[in-house]
Symmetry: C2
Subunit: 279 residues, 2 copies
Amino acid sequence: MDSLTPATSSQKEALLRRYGASGLPAAGPWNEAIAAMLDHRSVRGYKPDPVPPGTLETMVAAAQSAATSSNMQWTSVIAVSDPAKKKVLAEIAGNQKHIEQCPLYLCWVADMTRNAVISAEQKVDFETMPWLETFMVACIDVALAAQNAVVAAESIGLRTVYIGAMRNDPERVAALLGLPKQSFVVFGLCVGYATAEAAGEVKPRLPQSIVVHHDAYDGDAKAAERKAYDGEMATFAARHEMQASTWTQRVLNRLGPLKSMNGRERMRVALKTLGFEVR
Amino acid sequence: MDSLTPATSSQKEALLRRYGASGLPAAGPWNEAIAAMLDHRSVRGYKPDPVPPGTLETMVAAAQSAATSSNMQWTSVIAVSDPAKKKVLAEIAGNQKHIEQCPLYLCWVADMTRNAVISAEQKVDFETMPWLETFMVACIDVALAAQNAVVAAESIGLRTVYIGAMRNDPERVAALLGLPKQSFVVFGLCVGYATAEAAGEVKPRLPQSIVVHHDAYDGDAKAAERKAYDGEMATFAARHEMQASTWTQRVLNRLGPLKSMNGRERMRVALKTLGFEVR
């Protein structure tokens, strides 16, 4: 589109890496912050070098600056540096060695305890606590906060990877970190400098024509666009020796068999044990 | 701490605005991207000026660059510009006029339909779909994506506010936007330029001493720190004619009575109607 900001070559390269030639979107506003976000890749190998002094403080300040529903601030962060604890967390996550390796490992907690304490102190029953909606809001709050922290870290040259596999065994994680009732580790986050081997590259995503809708959901399955994306992912997978070659195949592998959940179909039971009713 | 990057005056001011003098954290790494995040405030009044050309494309590129669990890409975005639809959405949200006012209104969708289509096409049963864990992952994916979009928008001088109140009536929102089964608007987002009256200011957050833990959850209720924060919020509230004066009071008002949920205790029923089992 002529009316758009002309793409600089670095912007065009960034969009090409993210979407491939087949899915290139129009070039809009651009700056260093946006370029850093576009350059995200999840990194699973870290140098032993420590993060710069004050990194945790800056990441948390960014995290707390994200929107939080009604200013309830459901997020807590546990920075885990004890090697013995990191080892157990890596095991729980199916032997993800980068949890032990990374210089900064953060567990992001949906912390409904802090508010429950106020309920107890003030002797006011909190009728809103046991509902699915409230639990969802807490998880969303945590995700918004963590993502700001990720953007802050990556803007200073650090790399990250979220560790959803903390949810493989929520009770064991909670016990290890001494969580009180009504707190729950939503995910972990490795932070550090990527090793050369693990630096990776930007993974292509679905074209915007599939993801963006106008005024109403476009029900067209967009077979041609999806096929083109399968092609982009197959090329990417071939370069990275990934098992599934196309996105379609990856979706089938990941969402088809129950065993791919690594026991996380227990989530409701686990949450109940941890003090969340999720009614 | 002496070992930390010396704070520039603008960094110190930004941290003061976010935490107040009582909760000032150590000054860590800093740059424009981080400064923009620290300067976030939710804005509820917008000029009619359109957003720059290509803003939607850049926001979505940033959104899609966020981590997504197993690359499942659960997020869809519906850009709503039809004034009649915006009017209804504003009503659903309890007459939030900024939904009608803002030049760009985005509904962020947990889109499990896209993957369900693959299940149907390939005649493979997706055993992982009906579980709470899978639903949580989709919501978290959407939140990570949306937050990147927010950071991108705010980095170019736009302002935003999340509209959780799309969940006041999920079925009506879904019908209005023609969502298929297994898609659900997690929240809306207003984007545009703030009016002078609505520009607002940075809202103080809990001190990091309450939010950050090391190796284990610190169960200390930190009464003194919380009281100091109540003081910061009381000062802020007095400047902004907010009803609740302290954070403690706001928590009591928001989490105590069921009626403050605006009917969202129905979420499980609503989701079931929309094709989510959340087992």
